[in-house]
């Protein structure tokens, strides 16, 4: 029997719309360490309407933009409203590698009050990624207290 939820997928699977899927797949593969399973070409014979990549234990789809419809890339939209968040073993190594491969630094890697060592980049195709490694395991209450004290520090400084 075919299971309604394929075992190797989590509930949420991002589908990234880009201009130029081949370049994007090459970048996600070399810069982020993703692994490509397959790609399907659209009826126009050039654009790629589906591809599936594995990153760590998660999968995501990368597709060409079809600007005549709702599938528009960040380049066409002039930005993105979504950040893809990655937890990895070594945030510094992953971040440095992505930046060396051409990612734009949006936030340098630093230890954050919520218990992550964390940084943020934009990839060459306009998608935003935050990359982190957990360094402290806190209860929701501790987390709340840290957030409060961070906010009041900020208020005093401004």
């Amino acid at each position: 029997m075919t299971h309604p939820i394929p075992e190797d997928f989590h509930t949420i699977t991002p589908q990234l719309v880009v201009k130029g899927v081949s370049d994007a797949i090459a970048w996600y593969t070399s810069a982020l360490g993703a692994n490509e399973l397959f790609r399907n070409t659209a009826p126009d014979g050039t654009r790629i309407m589906h591809s599936e990549l594995l990153l760590g234990d998660s999968r995501f789809f990368v597709v060409d933009e079809f600007a005549e419809g709702p599938m528009k890339s960040p380049a066409t939209l002039g930005g993105t409203a979504v950040t893809l968040h990655l937890y990895v073993h070594d945030v510094d190594a992953m971040f440095d590698r992505a930046v060396a491969a051409g990612a734009t630094v949006l936030m340098k890697v630093a230890d954050q009050f919520w218990g992550d060592r964390y940084g943020m980049i934009a990839d060459p195709f306009g998608h935003r990624w935050s990359i982190a490694s957990r360094i402290e395991d806190m209860s929701p209450r501790e987390l709340h207290e840290r957030a409060e004290s961070w906010a009041s520090d900020r208020k005093e400084r401004s």
């Binding site: 029997m1 075992e7 190797d8 993703a34 399973l37 594995l54 234990d57 999968r59 990895v88 992953m94």
Partner: protein, 126 residues
Amino acid sequence: MNTDTSAAAEPAATMTPAVFHVLLALARGKSHGYRVMQDVALVTDGETRLGPGTLYRTIQRMLVDGLIEEREMALHDETSDDRRRHYQLTPKGLTVAKKEARRLATLVDVARQRGLLSKSAKRGLR
């Protein structure tokens, strides 16, 4: 783990049932996808069926994680069919398989001690 090219591709912390099934199937020696699917049906008495999509996503992930490797021995008439590719456990795959088997055995021991595997418990499930 191929540390040279994939900082992100660390072995996943979770082991899906399909990963353990493939490890179990390859513990008998090198095999190809179709035989792995048959083995899963065999060891679970037909209760679990590994479909070709799940099989190849699982195999991809295990290759990336360095648990298995592809054997370069496919005959020319076999290369067109993914299910005819041969795979075998890596030393790391064998270590992971043993560790997971011990972990499961320990849990099953506890389950038995706590009466979950008694005859009455079995009746309760039916």
